[in-house]
Assembly symmetry: D2
Homo-oligomer: 347 residues x 4
């Protein structure tokens, strides 16, 4: 089949690879009808990926149709319209049943397309392990673009916002307005935020957040501007969706007394320079984590089905899978007002 | 001055009465620029009021300008634009400081216009006791109609919804779509409700709720219809805003497993026939109460200032204070698509 | 095998009945080493049971050893020391997986020993359906008496206390000091209650609660006495563990402003006379429900294993299964300082 | 009067200083009957204090009797038995009324004995500003030692534990078993902790915690030992009560998946090396802060009055105020099994 593969830094290729094989009796194979490029795919693209492999199929956001199921799969059948959640687990241990698949007790916690071990889904088809736990049936009311956002970006944003325990009427800042940041804006409003400041360097991204009801703020003097707009109180909650040292520092600086800073951007530092003195005076709370997608979906599916969150708003580009190499370059360079790119394997 | 007075069942008069006097050194006098008619005013109108007095000035929802303050008032001065909260307390005891003015430890819990003891505010002016605790300064961003709704109806609705602990994405029903019911719809959405069923007999009221995003339901077969729309699950939360035995029974019947029923409609029964058997099987939670307005305002002022709740949407009629007798009849008879009536004492 | 059977009002017999049969491939058979008599068994004894059957084996609280398992049982094997939870479900639907077995989506919600459909466990052995969901392995640190309390009485008490959301330092009253009431006292303290009033007519029961740290209160003038002891504030939380109309009325009368009344006593009234007027003034919250045992066990097992709750304190009598008829009479008549009776089928 | 004064590093003197003067019409003077030495007093003793002043009276924990009040003090009178809270505020702004005196809007946030600005209370008497907000009346049931603990150490510990939202049955570790650490152990148990690990280098301190029900753990291999005792799960909550970089690192290492680390030890680093990578994998939550004593007291007074927390258990030494210099040396050197030292100004 055709697929996008990683061939080295800044080198994503449109390749022909073997068709996916069934992961045992619990597995399934999904024909991909749409797949997304995620911010974390750029780590791989830039050569800072999660394995040393080459030639593996990338991508972990996909929607499609079940075309084959193992004999022990009980909840899905051929023909079902499904989304493939970015995170995987065994689906049966107590942690997986509680939705914490990234803490799977059977050691099946993982993610597609980070290396050769579990091939990705920017392809014509993808093999899904433990399908009963790692597929989700899609209601007709959920569009393909919305479903792509539900595989990873929206749950990640929601998870961060949920852990920050946003109270109705509270003031929130979102640092970084990529797809996860935009979904953080949507999540904050859905939870009842009174006002949301949307901070990014890129004007098109700020404009997109503004259209969602947020107040756009340029990054450079965000602390001063937000300080002024809030009469010195700054924010009850800050959602960080980038993961760089500088943006985490900025996020902490936007918190007011008793503020909660929730970081879903990935930062791999073992010694991030944390300002304890400030945190103590401001009585801060800092939460950090990686999202188990499955845990967030029950609430999110309801909200998307009822139109309370419209995640497709983040999608800026639809391209053919064969244009994948160009799509990566476009997304990496943040040009053309790019936000979310969705690829179509049928083209 | 001119004022509306209660002269017996179905007899509200436009009368001339004495000007208000200052309630001691802590009191203030407010020139009323707008005043609302509340559902509980109809109890008085119907002759089922809260005292046996005649000739007293009615009404407990007003907005205006401070024209006189006692020497111990520290937070307000002549010329301030204020709203007069429906509930009163001393403002200084620990209960009042915590916002529970209806539990005032100095015995000053009360409400305007329920009898001769504390004259009402459907008048050209109103005397306010303990002004520091019973007045609220109004930001310019809050319209007069919004402010009227903030004196009683919106806080009452919010209080009921808040105690029901509406979770993001949950399914809510509101029983009764008078001004409090409409504000219950608004509150549920502001708290993140996934869907809201709006139940009333009157088509215009349902239409008003539908315009706010709710799904209109006729009262007669509400249980069956909502059961079908929710595939038998019915509602996570039911907000009751009428207080009649029948509507409370209806509200309880709309709750699903683990449902929470919050009653803000006033029901004076000492032996309401409560279905314990059903409540036990469904694991219901029932909350009942009267709202201390002051307690709810900090959050609500933020939400109204930021436009997250637009309470003026409930106002259907503006009339002159001199037309008060007609306004009462209109509201009592639920004609002309009436929802909230606001009276202007300058006319 | 030998078993206790219901033969009509006030007639429990020590009989010989058929050995239990396996409930299909998911079932198991447990040799009973101890079984308890529950307050709800007395409903059956008094002739107000839950079915019209005669001659069926009664009882729903048992501990023992697995002696046979169906081929699809994966979590238990012959020889395991287990408790049999009073409530049953399929163990696999989403409701059961979340612990709400009484809302089992496959229609398997039930309880042992209420009729012929699912025979009881006051016997030498009991057949358990869906064993993976309806058995619980017992840590060696949990005594047999503690385990009996964990099958029903303690989870029921805990469930009621948990839903009342007892805050640290709060004042609690428990109405009714049978085994569930005593466990309510223990639960309240484990949740951090500041003081607990224990209300019952029977001196020995009050003494038992007092030994647990509670303040004993005679029922007759409980409202006045507790009012005085709390300087008129009465209680933040009231836990009702009887279910009679009179005790529910008493419980509501013990609640203070904003009080929460949680009822786990079984009351089958369709028209309990509920004091709405008082509930509104006091801003009460009333929660009613039946406990799904499985849902409460994860927390309770930890607390009992660590010695934070010592449920065996409620056990007053150990008797032989063959003495079952006498044990029922003793428990029904509340004589001999009886609290919990545990029966031994080996005697 | 006689008082302890700071005369340079390792030099606390028993001196004669001026009697305290009344802080205006809102102030009061308290004759000190007992005063405590706090861990933060050791920062001053070591020469790392909070001001460059010399000769000022130290100490911020005291209990005594009101001997003079300004004319605007309404809640206290001469003769009242009171405790002097370590933190001060105006007592009237919205922040102070909500208990956040350290965020006092009138700029009166402070603490006694940190410099010449607000003299300390290790003296025969202390001047208290804004007495209505900074004194607390003592019930007879509260002993002098308990009251000393309530001025600072217990509220600080409670504040840290409360922000960690300890759930009933959870596993907690306390790092550092000085007076605040011991009170953290007590707080965790009062909130319902299932088990508490108590970590310190000093055997006597561990013994004291063990007597309170905790499991003593030597610091050196705490992570390994606790890992083993919890079968690899480690702790739900870790309470840090030292503030050194090493103990904060240790605390973070004791947290399990989804763990909450609450830091009340004072750490002034602007660049503490924070392990983001670990925090993300473990989905940690880190809370840091300084305690506003007033905010915690309503709950704590109830718990101490009811005997649920016995803070006097931390007091190891009673000495005369004139022995203050020796007392500081004893406490600083952690000898003689010292925990809390209480000084008596009458000796």
């Amino acid at each position: 089949m055709k697929a996008l593969t990683y061939e080295g830094p800044h080198n994503i290729a449109y390749s022909t690879i073997d068709d996916p094989k069934l992961f045992g009796l619990d597995g399934a194979i999904v024909r991909v009808t749409a797949c997304g490029i995620c911010g974390s795919d750029l780590h791989i693209y830039e050569g800072h990926g999660f394995s040393a492999d080459l030639g593996f199929c990338v991508g972990h956001e996909s929607v499609g149709e079940v075309v084959e199921v193992g004999s022990r799969v009980s909840e899905f059948k051929v023909g079902d319209r499904v989304m493939v959640t970015a995170s995987t687990g065994c689906g049966r241990c107590s942690k997986c049943r509680a939705g914490f698949v990234l803490a799977c007790e059977r050691g099946m916690a993982g993610c597609y397309g980070l290396g050769a071990a579990l091939p990705g889904s920017q392809a014509e088809a993808v093999g899904v392990p433990a399908a009963d736990g790692n597929l989700v049936k899609l209601d007709d009311s959920i569009s393909q673009d919305a479903a792509i956002m539900l595989t990873d970006n929206l749950p990640t944003a929601w998870y961060g916002a949920r852990r920050a325990r946003i109270g109705v009427g509270e003031t929130v800042a979102v640092v970084g307005l990529g797809p996860v940041g935009l979904m953080s804006v949507a999540s904050a409003f859905a939870m009842g935020a009174g006002r949301v400041f949307a901070v990014d360097l890129v004007p098109e991204r700020r404009a997109r957040a503004e259209a969602m009801g947020a107040e756009p703020i340029e990054s450079d003097d965000a602390r001063a501007v937000i300080g002024e707009l809030t009469k010195g109180k700054r924010c009850d909650v800050v959602l960080e969706a980038v993961g760089a040292d500088a943006t985490i520092q900025l996020a902490m600086g936007l918190a007011g007394l008793g503020g909660r800073v929730s970081i879903v951007g990935v930062n791999q530092s073992r010694a991030f320079p944390f300002d304890m003195a400030m945190a103590q005076i401001l009585e801060l709370e800092v939460v950090i984590g990686l999202c188990s997608v499955q845990r967030e979906l029950p609430t999110l599916l309801k909200l998307v089905e009822r139109g309370r969150i419209k995640p497709e708003i983040a999608v800026s580009h639809h391209m053919a899978l064969s244009d994948g190499p160009d799509a990566y370059a476009l997304f990496a360079n943040r040009v053309d007002g790019v936000s979310k790119v969705v690829l179509d394997p049928s083209r």
